[in-house]
Amino acid sequence: MTVKADNNKNDNNKTQKDKKKKSFLHLLFINLFGGKKKMTVMEEEMLQNEGVEEEIESPGQIIWSSFKSDKVAMTALIIFIIIVIVSVIGPLVNPIDLSFSEVSQQHIPPGRNLMKYPSALEGKVQDISTGPKYSVAASTDGKLYIWGKTKITDTIDLRRVPKDMGNIVKLAAGYDHILALNDEGQLFAWGNGRQRQTDIPDEVIGLTNISDIVAGYQNSIVLTEDGHMYYFGNYMNNDIDLFHPYQGQLQKVVVTSDAVLGLTFDGEVVYLGSQNTAYSRIPEDMGNIVDLAATAATVAAVNEEGQVFVWGNISAKKGEGNIPETDSKIVSLQGGRYHYTAMTEDGQIVSWGDNTYKQSTVPDSVASADIESYYTGFYQNYAVTSQGDILTWGLKGYLLGSDELGRDIFNRLLNGARLSLFIGAISVVISTIIGIIVGGISGYFGGRVDIVLQRIAEMVASLPFLPLAMILSALIGHSMSPRQRIFLIMFILGILSWTGLQRLVRAQILSIREQEYVLAARALGVKEWKIIFRHILPNVFSAIIVSTTLSFASSILTEASLSYLGFGVQAPYPTWGNMLYGANNSVVIQNYWWRWVFASIILSVSVVSINTIGDGLRDAVDPKTQER
C-alpha cells in the first residue's frame, strides 16, 4: 500500500513537474491571481485560448509581478515614493531662504507650542509679554503663566519664578530674562543674569512709583511716574547714555536690539544713547507723538494725526517701512522682532513688516472681532477680544526644532531631501552612462579595446574611494562657489563609481553575444550598433536597473559622508549629510539632539528603503537567489 501511495505521489509530482515545464506562464497566472486557488476547467480553457495574448507579457511585467508579491520590498518602495514626492513638492510649498539666519531663534526644541497659552488665562488677561521663544502672562486674579520654550541653559529655566511675588500687574519679557511688577510696586527679575540684567539695583528696590518696565537684549529699564528711568544690564552692547538730559521727562522707553529711545511727556522722541546711529537720526517735524515702538532694528512713532514714521536700519526685504493704509488713524503701536502691529481708532488691528512666520498677516478672526487689547513681541501676536477670548497669530514653533543659525530644521530637511536625492540620482546617471558605454564596448568588441578598458576600470576600482573623493573635492573645489561644488560632487561620485556596473554589463554582454538570436540578427545583416542597442542592451536592462538602484543608495550615503566631513555640499545649501556637519560634539548630541536625530532618521530610512528595493528587484529579476 505504502509503495503504491508513494508511486502515486511520484506520479503526481512528475505530472506537476511536467505541467510546470509546459506552462510557466500558466503558473505565473495562478500566482498572479491568488496563489493556491484552484482553477475551473473553464478558466483553464480560457487561459489556453488566451495563451497567445499571455505570451505577450514582457519580462518587465514578470519582474514587476514578482516584485509586487515581495511585501518588504513593496513597503520600501511605497516609503521611498512618498519620500520622493515630498522632496519634490515640499520645497515648492515650503521654499528655503538660503541667506536666513536669526540669532533669537537658535536651538529651539521641536514643538509648536510657542503660542499655546493656558486656557485658564482666557477672560482674565492682565498683561502678556513675549520673548524670543516663550511668552509670559499675568492674569487679573494674580496668577503668572509661562508657555513656550523656557529653558535658556542647562541651569537657567524661566519657569523657575521667584516666590511670593504677589499680584503681578505688569510684565516685560526680555531676550532671556523677565521683569515683573506687582500691585504694590515691587519689582522682580529672573532668568539669565550674566550681564546683571536681573540684579535689581538698590535705588530701584526703594522705588514705589514705577510706571513701566522694559526688558530688552541683556538689559532692563525701569521708568517711574515722574519720568525718571533706571537702566541695568549690559552697557557695552546697548548704546545708552546714563547721564542723558531727559531724566524726569520720559513717559515711555523702547529698546531695539542695541539702542534705547524715549518719548517725553511733550510728545517728542528722544535718543537716549551717546553715539550717532541710524536710530538717533530721528525724523524731524513728526508733530505730537502719541506712541512709540521698536523692533530689533527699527523704531516707529505715531503722531496725533495717526501718521506713522519708521526709521533705523530698515530692511527692504523685511519691510518694516511698508506702512499699510488704514481706514481710520492709528492710535497705538507695538513692535515685534521685525514687524509692527498697530491699532486704529475704531479698533482695527493692522500688522506690517517681516512675514516669515505669518506674524504680520492679521487673521480674519481678529479683523472681525472686537479687540480690546493686543500684545506683540518677537514673532508672536496676541489679541484679546472684549469677550475675553485670546486670538493669536505668528510663529507657532518649529516642528523639528531649529538649528544653530535659527533655521527651521523641518524646512531644511525638506529642501535637503531634494538636493540629496538629486545629487544621488545625477551621479548614478553619470556612472550608469559611463558603465554601460565602457562595459558595452568592452564586452561586445573584446580584443585589445577590452584589455585597455578593463585595465583602466581596474585602476579606478582599486582606488580608495572616500579619501580620493575628499581630495578631489578639496583640490578642485578649492575656489568654487557652494553652488558649483554641488555639481562637482555629483561629477566626482559619478566618475568614481562606474566600475561595478561596467563589469556587470560586460559579463552579461559576453554571454549574450554568443546567443543564437544575436547570431541570427547578424546573419540577417542587422547593423552592429543596432544589434547592441536593440538586441543586446534590452536583455541587460534588468541587471542594470538592480545595480543602479543599489548604487543610488550608496551615492546618497557617500554624499552624506562627504558633506558630513565638510568635503561635500557646503552651507547654505542643505543636504541630509551637511545638516549633521558639526553635530559630533557632546553638547550638540545631548542638548540639541533634534539637530542630528531627524536628519539621521530620514537619511537612514531612505537608504534602507532603497537598498531593500534593490534587493527585492534582484530577487525578482533572478529567481534563483530567492530559492536560496
Binding site: F465, F567, N584, S604, V607
Partner: protein, 328 residues
C-alpha cells in the same frame, strides 16, 4: 608563480605611477605661489629690483618654471628617496609628522580587523548552517540595517547612549590629559578612550563581512560533495569545517582582503568624530589646512595600502585554491 607575482607587482607599480601623476597634476592646479610666499616677508626691506631678483631666484630654486613633467620627475625622485617634502602647517618634514598618526591608525585597524574576523566568521558559518532559522533571519535583518546605516549615524547613536547618557566612555580624545601612572595604567586609559571608536568600527564592518561569509558558506554547503560527505556518515563538524569551510574560504579571502583596505579609509570618519590622532583625522586636517604635501603623502598611503591588498588577494588565490592557474 614567481612570474605571476612579478607581473602583478609591475602592474601595481604602473598603477601607482599613473595615480601619482594624476594627483601631482591636480595639486598643481591649486592656486598658490610658494616662491612668492617665501620672499613676501622680505618685501618691505628690499627695493623692487632686489625683490624681483630674489623672487626669480626662489622660483628657479624651487623649479617652478620647469615643465610639469620635469617637476613631477623631481618630486617622484624625492619621494622614492623617502623625502615627502615639508609640511606647511607643522614646519617639519612630512615623514616626521605622519609617524604618530600612522602608528595609531595601524594599531586601531589591526585591532578592528582581528575582532571582526573573530566575530563574523563563526557568526556567518552559524547562520549558513541554520539557514532560515529564527536566529539566521534576525541576523539577516540586523545586517541589512547595519550596512545601510552610515557609520557616522551609528557613531552618533553610540556616543549619545554610551558616552553622553551612561557616561561609560569618554566622548573624544585618545588619553586623559596630564595622565600620570604606570605604562600599564596608561595603556588601560588609552583603551578606555579607544573602546567606543573600536566598537563602532567593528560594528560598521560586521554586517557586510557576515553576509559574505554566510553567502559563501551556503554556496559551499549546497555542493554535491557535501551530500557525499554526509552520506559517508562523516561527523557534521568534519563536514562543515573540513569540507565546506575550506571551499568557502576562497571567496571569503578575496572579500576580506579587499575589505581590510577599505577599513583603513573607512576609519577616516570615526577618527575625525572621536578626535583620534590617526591618519584619517590627520588627512582631514591637512585638507582643511591646505597642507598639500601631507595630504598627498597620506593619499599615497591609502593607494598603496589598497594596491598591496589587491596583490595579496591575487597571490593568496593561488595558494588557497591550486586550481586557479595564476600564471595565465
Amino acid at each position: 608563480m614567481a612570474k605571476y607575482i612579478a607581473k602583478r607587482i609591475l602592474y601595481m607599480i604602473f598603477v601607482a605611477f599613473i595615480m601619482t601623476f594624476v594627483l601631482f597634476f591636480l595639486f598643481n592646479l591649486v592656486p598658490g605661489d610658494p616662491a612668492r610666499a617665501e620672499v613676501e616677508a622680505m618685501k618691505e626691506l628690499l627695493t623692487p629690483e632686489e625683490y624681483l631678483y630674489r623672487y626669480q631666484q626662489a622660483r628657479e630654486r624651487l623649479g617652478l618654471d620647469d615643465p610639469l613633467i620635469k617637476r613631477y620627475g623631481k618630486w617622484l625622485k624625492n619621494t622614492l628617496e623617502g623625502d615627502l617634502g615639508q609640511s606647511y602647517a607643522y614646519k617639519q618634514p612630512v615623514t616626521e609628522v605622519i609617524k604618530a598618526p600612522l602608528r595609531n591608525t595601524i594599531f586601531l585597524n589591526v585591532f578592528v580587523v582581528a575582532a571582526v574576523l573573530l566575530i563574523t566568521i563563526p557568526l556567518g558559518i552559524k547562520c549558513a548552517i541554520k539557514q532560515n532559522s529564527a536566529f539566521d533571519k534576525t541576523i539577516q535583518v540586523l545586517t541589512v540595517i547595519g550596512y545601510s546605516l552610515p557609520v557616522f549615524i551609528i557613531a552618533l547613536i553610540f556616543i549619545f547612549i554610551f558616552a553622553v547618557k551612561l557616561r561609560w566612555f569618554p566622548v573624544s580624545g585618545m588619553r586623559t590629559p596630564n595622565f600620570k601612572g604606570t605604562a600599564f595604567q596608561a595603556f588601560l586609559d588609552t583603551m578606555h578612550h579607544l573602546a567606543l571608536p573600536l566598537i563602532i568600527l567593528i560594528i560598521g564592518s560586521l554586517a557586510g563581512v557576515t553576509r559574505h561569509v554566510r553567502a559563501a558558506m551556503i554556496d559551499a554547503l549546497s555542493m554535491d560533495y557535501i551530500k557525499t560527505a554526509r552520506a559517508k556518515g562523516l561527523e557534521e563538524k568534519v563536514v562543515i569545517y573540513s569540507h565546506a569551510w575550506r571551499n568557502a574560504l576562497l571567496p571569503v579571502i578575496t572579500l576580506i582582503i579587499g575589505w581590510i583596505a577599505s577599513v583603513f579609509s573607512g576609519s577616516i570618519i570615526t577618527e575625525s568624530m572621536f578626535n583620534l590622532h590617526g591618519m584619517g583625522k590627520f588627512y582631514i586636517d591637512a585638507l582643511h589646512k591646505q597642507d598639500w604635501n601631507v595630504a598627498l603623502a597620506i593619499q599615497m598611503f591609502y593607494i598603496v595600502i589598497t594596491l598591496v591588498s589587491y596583490l595579496i588577494t591575487d597571490i593568496t588565490y593561488g595558494f588557497v585554491d591550486p586550481r586557479v592557474k595564476v600564471d595565465q
